[in-house]
Amino acid sequence: MDFTIILQAGIASGTVLLFATIGELFAERSGVMNLGVEGMMLIGAMSAFSTTIATGNPWLGVIVAMLFAGLISQIHAFIVITLQADQVVSGLSLTFLGVGISLVLGEGLSKAGTVSLLPNFSIPLLTLIPIIGKIFFTNQSILVYFGYLLVPLSWYYINRTRPGLHLRAVGEYPSATDALGINVFRMRYFYVFVGGMLAGLAGATISLAVSPGWFSELTTGGQGWIAIGLVIFAQWDPIRAAVGAYAFGALRRLILDIQGPLVLFGLANPFYYNPYLGFFLQMLPYLFTVVVLVIGSREAMRKRIGAPAALGNPYIRGERGK
């Protein structure tokens, strides 16, 4: 069993989580929690796949996926920002809406055949680095490389630029930000849209690159929920989000692949000979997330890092308080 190949595939599958996590991170930094990630990802995966089937152009598929998911996210934005309704309730119903719409529009799509996928390539010179070159820079999808760029760019945008400062301010102290003449409502609409587009991109990454095709709601298989978990684990920091996403992706991959071979490290592979162990293996990522959340929240308490102060609260102009 070649671990570099497993990790290589793990990075690709982690890219899906990366996009969804960073998207949710932007929305939450502006103070809006969107639990509809799973629904938006499904919308993205379905529309990317069906557009590509219809036009033969995967790039068009990616664009349509991002726009459609972004559009759906604006329903949530309207309900929680303009109508000031509860974010959890609205986010949950967005999940239902997204799942329902994608299943209806994706009906029969699973038998639609194969599509031309986004290109895979290796980066010259960087592939020559031992191990790392093979894992990160050899024969990866172009979206994986885009993910590598997105992480530092998001970090720089949030922490070192003026709009990023405004973003953080809107999530921490919206009334003060409003007093500075920044439109809190418009900012929140915008970042919910960004979150929706990245969730759509995550969906497109599944259906056009990582595991091509449309398998109804199994296409995403709960990864949207994991992305929401990773945002908390990441403590709203894009670098930590990337570490979490890639680690989780690699773990998922490893669990899939470890059950294959007859011999593991020179011994009879227990996961092959006892299929029941497989069920427990598949629990691992979720147990792992819970454990990581326990550790993460301990650490957050000690360092006094927390969620954006205004997360989950509607901003009502002229009302006292935060």
Partner: protein
Amino acid sequence: MRQKLDTLFDALLPVIATLAALAVGAVMLLFLKVNPIVAYAALWDGAFGNSNAFAETLVKATPLLLVGLGICISFRGDVINIGGEGQMIIGAVLATWVGLNFTGLPGWLTITLSMFAGFVGGAIWGGIPGVLKAYFRVNEILSTVMMNAIAVQLMNFLLRGPMIDPAQAELASQIPQTARLEEIFRLPRLAPTRLHLGALIAVILAVLVYILLWRTTLGYRIRAVGQNPHASRYAGIKVQRYMVLALLLSGAFAGLAGATQVFGVNYRMITDGSSSGFTGSAGFNGIVAALFGGLHPLLTIPASILFGALLVGANKMQRVVQVPSALITALNGLVVVFVVSSEIIRKRRQRKREAVAKRENDTPPPPAGVGDTKIQQAEAGS
């Protein structure tokens, strides 16, 4: 007159919201080149067309109501339980184990024990995220979702391994299912339909949950913690304990929902590898029903029947007009969206009315002497 109209409008809001969602659904149907009238007629016929159809609606509504009752408790305590699916599974597993192993006892006792086991199983599966939230500050939305995934794998393991039907274990097919419950251990049917005792239990429990939430100290404290944990702490309420309790009770009701599915409908547990294969997504749809019922246990009863009807009717609609029944999933989401939005609009109208009433009632007469002082001052100034 005006006031009466306002009250009527408020009462009709959920109905209006449902109609609005159906209208959007009609647009989607037109988009799919289906006549919405034919589709909705099929939906209605499938849900209420005859006594069997209506019984089927109530059978579908039962787990929604039970899960929804738990949701009323947890959401009132400001604890978001998305783990209904996992809690149903664990409740069902435990109940089935009791039902298959305690066969020496009288039927009614085994059934009671099984239902209790379901209650306990769900409580355990809900209590774990409760403890994680209260004492380790782990977000319960996430931990309950993770617990769902863990429960599914546990079910898949148990139904293929230790709990597999002995008859299946010998066959090559190895269908992952338990043995069938003996007839005396099944929940009795209420009519010559598939309607079972579980529906009645659920309605009785709805009343009990109402009493719990509004007529007992326990319920008062759960709601107080949900409204304002800080104030509750100052008032001497052990906030963490009530958080755990809210999730634990919520899980318990979901566990009971899982148990009634086995003992009232399927008479055995069977898995297709996913959670919805066993639960029919009742763990999620119950949340929708409770929200539609305004998190009120008694209003959750008609809400569950509505969503049960949509789910049952959707199958008929799929057969008649070949529209994927998943359309109903989208409709469920839309209904909640509209209910929540209309709720906000209702609150705003109410605030506006109160403001108007206030202005009309206490426009105070100008206090005597105020004007005079001004005049005097003006005179003094000139």
